[in-house]
Symmetry: C2
Subunit: 450 residues, 2 copies
């Protein structure tokens, strides 16, 4: 048997405790931003019928999937590459019975059979937030605000990340104003989507094939490549895009709502954001690190026709996905993922580390007391070493970042332990009967002080 | 396209918000019991190289796995059917660098390509707790105590569930005392493992083939089928098993530790618990509902040779797995999974539901205030309806189980809102500038009262 069997498969990750702590830290920000914003959590199967993915994305997606058939082969399944088809299936199944709007989030693992590279793995975690059954700029702005709330809680600011906003309607208006024929619009969207990935000359050549003159290509290039601050006034935004204000109604209504919510500084208008082809129907957005050194941190938009496509009622919908891989790179680069120590600084800290000084009464009391304190909801550790050298064991208590050490000495016979605060170094006798209450009060005080 | 595509694959589950809340409730008990007991969380890939599973379980396991090969086919992978091989691989990779004992837990999804039935699905969640690098009854008892801590936090008592304990050494002693030859021991273990699944006559016949006389079969049957309370004294336990106390040293040492920890009432000795074949090396245990109406809630034991098998250092190890499927059935049956309403009663409750009575100042203030309160860490909802009928909207606030409603009326112009406590019905004016502090204080008071 070769050694590779003893390694995680290519493009997947082993999460030792520090890496898991970092992942839990990100997920906690995602979950609390979702719940505080009134979204409810759902989960779905890790694999679905393969056809569920080809409905939305066509047969072309099959090569990007891990798919399998059982021996005896009733069905072909695929590991989920994204959550939206599952969401649309679930919304289609129950959508007409549930009060609307439906506000759902989920934090599943996902899988893509691609070549792993920076910011892109074969298995990753992706937070999905979706608001179904409500249209309009209010819903779009609410979805964007949830994404920003989580990033703010992770310590990022408007100087670190930027929402790049576009709207299908504004882009169509722009393309039509440049003389793109209605039936060439899909091709023009596709070209715009690939713009960043091709040399300017090739972009100009292909735009020419769609009927654009050289100056029109330049205008498209400018509109797609020069983000406009959302804090700009509507007339200046229209002027920057060389379009009449009246034909940018949807984009400007979203802008107005985001400004009212105090989120303008986080956002720019960037008509170069397309996010693929036929899926989105209105607002589209991506969140990028301000330096644009990495891939997109998040992407989403409005998809009003999708739930219907999965057999459900017609239902307006808006949502986004945010993966853990790029976000982790951005956070780590800014020292926001446990600082220099990495995730180790994010590991849960014990309320107490219990030490016996070696007296028989203390030896007998320790395991029982450990159990009692844990049952009281406290995080409690104890040494596994044979030594009863209290100084050495206090070192172990500090190493696991315990808040306090509880030292059981000869006074255990009188029902007394010593509690040493490992931050201040102060030590005081505490009746063993009051240990749980004392440690809980200390925890409450720490939490209140944060 | 057929309709089955729009359903979750056979043996997998869609988790709508109430079911997700129930799942989170169970996971929270698992996670807090683990962390409070000093275990640190890890995660691994959802799929591994297929050979990782055949190392431990032989080729026979392949039929129970969902396995797949990529087009171009570097490797064959399998969705993980259990976590232990991943754990052993990770421990083998880092085990010699990490301080010991290593105390790890994980809560992954797992997959088995079996026929779905009650208590057994194709995709499920399984909590794994493992203590590596420490042997002896103290480590075994600590692992068992973590399992019980989680069940206690979920509301179960020693009347609801039972740990059924056995020990390879005690079973081997029993079998040898009945005249089973040393080289027949593996076959005898296998027979004992299948005992519950065969008619008594077949058990007797097969035991006879291993050289047991009729009275010896009866003694084996009794020892395997008649659990002994752990609170019994060692001499009575030995007598019940017709074995000398001195030859039950390991089992009785574990008993003594569990008694010292105050866990005796949760446990029985049951030498009929075998848990498969060559894997475990000492203590084995299962946790069952007291009525034994369901499959095992959890199972585990000591496996001192496994990390070495995966290329790591020799390392004593003890652990267990507890799945969500059987546990959910047991909890629901006892009304401990959100009561009559199911998981709906476990959904997060909003701190406040914000209502505008329709005045323009209130209309303008509401979305901004919603954003501010969410940024202050509060769970806040608001209506999406066009109506401004406060009575109707208060009904919506109650429906989503908000603790309070914040009513924005004409007094918004003076910076005042009304806060209505939806439990007591009491309503009081609160300066808008103090809303976040007021709602946070109410939340803190609720948490302190629990």
């Amino acid at each position: 048997m070769s050694d590779h069997v003893f390694q995680a498969p290519k493009g997947t990750r082993d999460f030792f405790p520090p890496e898991t702590a970092a992942r839990r830290h990100i997920e906690a920000a995602w979950r609390s931003a979702s719940i505080d914003s009134g979204f409810e959590e759902i989960e779905g199967p890790t694999f679905e019928h393969l056809e569920l993915y080809t409905v939305k994305s066509g047969e072309g997606i099959v090569n990007e999937l891990f798919s399998f058939t059982r021996a005896g082969g009733e069905s072909t399944y695929a590991l989920r590459p994204e959550f939206t088809p599952t969401l649309a299936r679930m919304a289609a199944a129950r959508g007409s019975q549930l009060p609307q709007p439906i506000k759902w989030f989920t934090i599943p693992n996902m899988f893509r059979a691609e070549r792993p590279q920076r910011g892109r793995l074969r298995e990753f975690v992706q937070w999905n937030v979706d608001l179904l059954g409500a249209g309009g700029p209010e819903a779009d702005a609410e979805v964007i605000s949830v994404a920003l709330l989580s990033l703010e809680r992770l310590g990022l600011t408007a100087r670190d990340v930027q929402v790049r906003l576009s709207h299908r309607e504004a882009v169509a208006t722009l393309l039509r104003s440049l003389g793109v024929a209605p039936d060439s619009l899909p091709k023009a969207f596709e070209l715009l989507d690939r713009r960043a990935k091709m040399p300017p000359a090739e972009f100009a050549k292909r735009a020419g094939e769609l009927g654009l003159a050289a100056d029109e290509v330049a205008r498209l290039d400018a509109a797609a490549g020069r983000p406009i601050a959302l804090a700009e006034t509507p007339d200046r935004i229209a002027a920057a895009l060389s379009l009449p204000e009246g034909e940018l109604a949807s984009l400007l209504a979203l802008r107005e709502r985001l400004v009212a919510l105090g989120l303008a500084e986080w956002c720019v208008i960037d008509l170069g954001i397309v996010r693929g082809l036929a899926y989105y129907t209105g607002t589209v957005f991506e969140i990028h690190d301000a330096g644009q050194a990495e891939r997109a941190i998040a992407g989403g938009g409005r998809y009003d026709t999708l739930v219907g496509l999965f057999g459900g009622p017609a239902m307006p919908a808006c949502g986004f996905g945010m993966g853990d891989v790029v976000l982790s790179l951005v956070l780590a680069e800014k020292g926001l993922l446990g600082g220099k120590d990495g995730g180790a600084a994010l590991l849960p800290r014990p309320d107490a580390f219990l030490i016996s000084a070696g007296d028989p009464a203390a030896e007998a009391a320790l395991p029982r007391l450990v159990g009692e304190l844990r049952r009281a909801g406290l995080h409690v550790r104890h040494p596994y070493k044979a030594t009863r050298n209290v100084g050495k064991l206090l070192g172990d208590a500090a190493k696991c970042r315990a808040h306090a050490a509880v030292i059981l000495g000869a006074e255990v016979a009188e029902g007394i332990a010593a509690v040493k605060d490992l931050a201040s170094g102060e030590q005081a006798p505490v009746p063993i009967a009051e240990l749980a209450a004392t440690l809980r009060a200390r925890r409450a005080a720490r939490e209140a002080a944060r």
